[in-house]
């Protein structure tokens, strides 16, 4: 509120006391400075380095490479397209399956169906775990010699191939990631629905709208701010995916993702700025659609 007033005219800014001004500039300045130092500077450096050859040791060894790293990735590295495919599958899965499921659950629980608290708890439980922990848990369960294999009487020699079976491993990984994502989205949406004016729902019921009509025409549009947040979270979570897969496969790119490729080229024995290029590609994919979308949203709001 205050910032709006500050922007509006200069006079009101003068009315701020010295103390206020100090507080305000500290509140804005310190986080901005930290952002620039710890986020923007490394990001910009990564972008610049992605156009160079460098082994990460002596700054004097940095050599200009032009678009060579990108050319190498786009035309010479088939693993890049595998990674891109996996990231896109992840995004589609989240967008069309996991996120709608979370919203649906939230909608049902908000209507206080019988035993909704128990269900809520069940679906919420995985949200307290990080994806890395989920990876550790399920790797322990499913890997050859793991718990589930043991229960099924499979030893390491004849264990059912899951992580190495390319007909199913993507689905298993998606299911594990969704396990957490569904609960997360459910929680966000539920919080939104709590703030929802129930008289709108009653009004639509009086007008004889079906449940589906009520949801589609009344609730969903009214929940727009929450929808935007959920969409952004879904896109970012899909494209920044790393930890779950890293726990299962390590730096080996047996099931590659963009961020795994970036890490593989940064860590370990052979540091190469191809890693920087992978990071930049992931960043662009992450940020551009979100910026475009948010711009549209804010434009509509202004109108």
């Amino acid at each position: 509120m205050k910032t709006a007033a500050v922007n509006k005219n200069v006079r009101s800014r003068r009315s701020l006391s010295r103390n206020d001004r100090f507080t305000l500039s500290a509140f804005v300045g310190i986080p901005t400075l930290l952002q620039i130092v710890f986020l923007w500077a490394p990001t910009l450096i990564t972008v610049v380095l992605s156009f160079t050859y460098w082994n990460g040791i002596n700054v004097s060894d940095i050599k200009w490479a032009g678009f060579a790293n990108y050319k190498n990735i786009f035309f010479g590295s088939p693993v890049f397209y595998d990674a891109l495919k996996n990231n896109v599958v992840w995004l589609l899965w989240f967008t069309f399956l996991a996120t709608p499921l979370g919203i649906l659950l939230a909608y049902q629980f908000d209507r206080k169906i019988k035993g909704h608290q128990i269900y809520e708890t069940i679906f919420y439980m995985p949200v307290v775990l990080s994806l890395a922990i989920i990876g550790i848990i399920w790797n322990f369960m499913l890997q050859p010699g793991g718990f589930v294999q043991g229960v099924m009487g499979r030893d390491i020699g004849n264990a059912i191939s899951i992580w190495g079976n390319y007909d199913i491993n993507s689905y298993v990984i998606m299911a594990l990631a969704s396990w957490r994502h569904i609960g997360y989205i459910m929680l966000l949406y539920l919080a939104g629905l709590k703030a929802f004016d129930s008289s709108l729902r009653e009004a639509s019921a009086i007008d004889g709208a079906t449940e589906w009509q009520t949801f589609r025409k009344i609730i969903f549009p009214t929940m727009r701010p929450v929808n935007v947040i959920i969409l952004v979270i879904t896109i970012i979570d899909s494209l920044r995916a790393f930890d779950l897969v890293y726990i299962i496969y390590g730096t080996s790119t047996a099931w590659p993702l963009l961020n795994i490729l970036a890490f593989q080229n940064f860590a370990g024995q052979g540091i190469s700025m191809k890693g920087a290029a992978y990071s930049v590609i992931a960043l662009v994919l992450c940020v551009v659609p979100i910026l475009v979308y948010l711009r549209n949203v804010f434009k509509e709001d202004l109108q």
């Binding site: 040791i57 002596n58 590295s77 693993v79 890997q143 030893d155 020699g157 191939s161 080996s252 080229n265």
Partner: protein, 434 residues
């Protein structure tokens, strides 16, 4: 490099001057390496692994022996081995410990060229004839002819199996001399319901051992090394042949190659679920940790001959040793400790603490070896050419990010071979000059 060394000796001179006797110490450090010069000061040593590991206890025992001999304190800290390797470059550019166990080959030479490792040629020279010419050759950086690692131990890659399993099957792996023998052995093992040729490649490096040996057997050591250094092409028919041989082994492999890593391979053997397993012998410690009985049951034979022209004249035998950080606080002390660890006194202390590694030094008395270690020596002795394993024989930005996925793709989809090799070569060609 000479800049770095000058910087170091200047610094140590200044430090020495602060302690006392400026002129004397300066004179002394000019004579550094003349053998008898007394090196002083605390030395910091990185132990790769957990402090509770057998390896850490051995390292500490050897370091204590150094302290006893020289009066210089050694401060050891344990660091997770994977973390240390992954962050090696960053660690060495920061405030590294003075000395640490490291691996010969590209991983040493490239870091030495970048000025991160200190020259230990003097210490290698001081070890004299206890090191064979081949060991010194292996530890030498080709770009300047100096050594940046004191070679200490090594181990062979070969076919491991359990004597008891083979006995029950009525098979004798000692007698496999040719490729056909190996296939027959795999077939017979498989017929009894076991895995013929145990392989895992989830980690992306395990199957490199099989690739290395097939390439060396079929095309010889020189071709293998040239291929890994860009002097031969991956699209060469000879390389296609290597993968065809790997394909011949595929039917005898476990069906979950891409599901298991090296530890899964180890467990297959430990649980008597497989016949032959191609691996470096270092995992034998885990057998010993399980029980003496399991360890005594373990055996290794060389991979059989395929091409009579090359016989069994080559082997992967990664050479390990001690390196010294150029950025350490006490570079001279680190080098002195490294030299000690490679000497008879250092080895004796390590062995007394329970080290079962094969030491490369001829000062080391091999008569105390157990049967398995003697067999390891025999396997090593059969070979004339020593490779260090693919990820130490070639560039780090090629081995892990390119060759690893290429072999995985082949194991996943052997029909794609042409495409895989084309892309491997294209990615080599796209690497920046070093």
């Amino acid at each position: 490099m000479s800049d770095v060394n000058n910087g170091i000796s200047r610094r140590s001179v200044l430090k020495g001057a602060a302690i006392g006797g400026a002129g004397l110490v300066a004179g002394g450090s000019l004579l550094a390496g003349c053998g008898k010069k007394q090196v002083t000061g605390d030395v910091r040593f990185t132990i790769r692994g957990n402090l509770s590991d057998a390896g850490a206890k051995i390292a500490i025992a050897a370091n204590d022996a150094y302290t006893k001999k020289t009066g210089n304190k050694v401060i050891s800290q344990a660091v997770n081995s994977d973390d240390f390797q992954n962050n090696f470059v960053q660690i060495l550019q920061g405030t590294p410990d003075d000395a640490f166990g490291w691996m010969a080959g590209w991983r040493t030479n490239a870091r030495a060229d970048a000025g991160l490792l200190a020259d230990v040629s003097e210490q290698v020279k001081a070890l004299g004839s206890s090191l064979s010419a081949a060991a010194i050759q292996g530890a030498t950086n080709p770009s300047d002819g100096k050594q940046y690692i004191i070679p200490t131990t090594y181990y062979p890659w070969g076919l491991h199996y359990r004597k008891s399993t083979m006995q029950e099957l009525g098979l004798n792996p000692e007698s496999i001399a040719t490729w056909d023998d190996l296939i027959k052995l795999c077939e017979a093992t498989q017929k009894k319901g076991l895995v013929g040729y145990a392989l895992g490649d989830k980690g992306g490096w395990e199957a490199m051992g099989t690739f290395d040996i097939l390439n060396m057997r079929l095309n010889g050591y020189q071709f293998h090394i040239d291929l890994l250094n860009g002097k031969e092409q991956w699209t060469d028919a000879k390389v296609v042949e290597v993968f065809n041989y790997m394909g011949q082994l595929a039917p005898y492999m476990n069906k979950n190659v891409l599901d298991i890593s090296w530890d899964g391979m180890r467990d297959l053997l430990l649980q008597k679920k497989c016949g032959a397993m191609m691996m470096g012998s270092w995992f034998a410690n885990d057998f010993l940790a399980k029980s003496q009985e399991d360890y005594d049951d373990l055996w290794i034979v060389p991979f059989p001959e395929i091409n009579p022209e090359h016989g069994i004249d080559s082997i992967d035998a990664p050479l390990d040793g001690i390196s010294v950080a150029a950025n350490g606080n006490n570079v001279e002390g680190g080098a002195d400790l490294a030299g000690f660890l490679g000497s008879k006194e250092g080895i004796d202390a390590a062995v007394a603490a329970g080290d079962t590694s094969i030491y490369i030094s001829s000062d080391f008395d091999t008569s105390s070896y157990d049967a398995f270690n003697k067999q390891k020596l025999a396997v090593l002795g059969a070979a004339k050419n020593i490779g260090f394993f693919l990820d130490r024989d070639t560039r780090g930005d090629f081995a892990g990010p390119v060759v690893g996925p290429a072999i995985q793709s082949f194991l996943k989809n052997p029909k794609d071979l042409t495409k895989i090799l084309d892309s491997t070569q294209a990615q080599w060609d796209a690497l920046p000059a070093l």
